[in-house]
């Protein structure tokens, strides 16, 4: 079973040289720590920055330079800055190669719910609806089950949707799964030491698994 960093590390292996990548808040942010040597990627922050660098050294924080999580950050050689409309223009026109974001639920047809729980204070969708509606390649990073022990991989989402039929890959603490075009989750890899049966029990949606699903390799 993986911890959050393990999930991030596994997702980082999906990143290819030359990718422009948007990382959501939470586990996705950790992916930046595991981008392999020799792979050049440009991180987009939807508040208006391409080429997001690491946190500044103490004392170098600049209130005018933040990421979409409102954290102080830095630029890198080759960075560019632009306004919010242009930022979502490059998202909508699919210039961003990969979007990684968290989710509360994903359904077996690729719907995602990650912004609202009825009866609880709703903070808003931020840029998530724009990202999932337009991205050509989205990976969801999330826990396989919620705090109550209920599966987050469902036949149908129960929470208000963020986007429909848009998720193609999910990485959890238990597994890597693809969402099949015809519906259903296809088990691609198991986390070290986790059995197919264990993953099956944690997956409420339809799960397709071969007899010999490989373990993840890092």
């Amino acid at each position: 079973m993986l911890d959050k960093n393990g999930i991030a590390q596994r997702i980082a292996r999906e990143i290819r040289d030359g990718y422009y990548v948007n990382l959501g808040i939470g586990i996705p942010t950790l992916v930046a720590n595991y981008i392999p040597e020799g792979i050049n990627v440009v991180l987009q922050s939807e508040n208006g920055l391409l080429g997001m660098g690491p946190f500044p050294f103490e004392g170098d924080e600049d209130a005018d330079l933040i990421n979409a999580g409102k954290q102080t950050i830095t630029t890198l050689p080759g960075s560019s800055i632009f306004d919010s409309a242009l930022s979502f223009g490059m998202i909508r026109s699919q210039k961003i190669d990969l979007t990684i974001l968290g989710a509360m639920e994903v359904s077996e047809n690729g719907d995602i719910a990650n912004w609202k729980i009825p009866g609880k204070m709703v903070k808003g969708m931020g840029g998530a609806m724009d990202l999932v509606a337009s991205a050509k390649n989205i990976i969801v990073a999330m826990q396989h089950v919620n705090k109550a022990g209920e599966s987050k991989l469902l036949p149908k989402c129960t929470l208000p949707l963020t986007g429909v039929k848009c998720i193609k890959k999910i990485v959890t603490e238990l597994a890597v799964l693809d969402v099949l075009p015809e519906g259903g989750f296809k088990l691609i890899e198991r986390a070290p030491g986790v059995s197919v049966d264990f993953i099956r029990q944690a997956t409420l949606g339809k799960l397709f698994a071969d007899d010999d699903v490989p373990e993840m390799v890092f």
């Binding site: 690491p54 004392g59 999580g69 931020g126 724009d130």
Partner: protein
């Protein structure tokens, strides 16, 4: 030379009245028009509809206007960092319309570009789509979203000149340029106001034609919401 300079925030906002719709630039607390917000709190105008990506925090930004119960409705994409906001929302004192961030930015852009509406895939198949026209282009569904209609846009820039030209600094640019273009009356506060001719025309982000009033602000706090650093190793 047309001169857009006013004496300060109080003069700039003098004709904003109860019930007006305002756009306010900024992302989180980054690039917000601090001086104009202070002046609006002092003036005490009420029943405002505020279009802004966020709603500030309890004691800064639009949060200061919420504390004085000046806001009737917020139109935002994310409002997570404000306890007073939550209290007013749950008690029904405050109305909120949450819309996708790209839709928010592009509805501003449409207003500034003189286009009545846009089509975006954001929100298709979700509750955001309820009651909206859906059009299919090239096999994909899009929602029709209208350009915003705001009496005033209030933006913050780094430098400006007496002709109203604006240059923003770093990611404090965010919503400011598109809102500057979208207001019927646009008010710009800047950290440094210079004479026309001192800004390189090639470097201007917002041409002065969009700006009706400009002044040099004072005492910028520029509060940091999430101070994240690494240690020198």
């Amino acid at each position: 030379m047309i001169n857009k300079v006013v004496s300060g925030a109080e003069e700039a906002i003098k004709d904003i009245k109860d019930g007006d719709t305002l756009m306010l630039g900024g992302f989180g607390l980054c690039g917000i028009p601090e001086n104009c917000i202070t002046a609006l709190v002092k003036k005490g105008v009420k029943e405002l509809t505020c279009i802004s990506n966020n709603a500030g925090v309890d004691d800064f930004g639009i949060g200061l206007m919420l504390q004085q119960r000046q806001v009737k409705k917020m139109i935002s994409s994310y409002v997570g960092e404000n306890a007073e906001f939550e209290r007013q929302l749950l008690s029904g004192e405050l109305e909120v319309e949450l819309i996708p961030q790209g839709t928010l930015a592009t509805r501003c852009m449409a207003a500034g570009y003189g286009m009545p509406a846009i089509f975006t895939p954001a929100g298709v198949g979700t509750e955001v789509a309820e009651g909206k026209e859906v059009r299919n282009f090239n096999g994909k569904d899009y929602l029709m979203e209208y350009a915003f209609d705001a009496e005033f846009a209030i933006v913050k820039a780094w430098k400006g000149d007496t002709a109203g030209n604006l240059i923003y600094r770093s990611t404090s640019r965010n919503f400011n340029p598109v809102m500057a273009m979208a207001g019927k009356v646009t008010i710009a506060e800047v950290e440094e106001l210079v004479e026309a001719g001192e800004l390189d025309p090639d470097q201007v982000h917002t041409p002065g034609v969009f700006v009706h009033r400009i002044f040099q602000g004072a005492n910028y706090e520029k509060r940091i919401e999430q101070r994240t650093v690494r240690t020198r190793g």
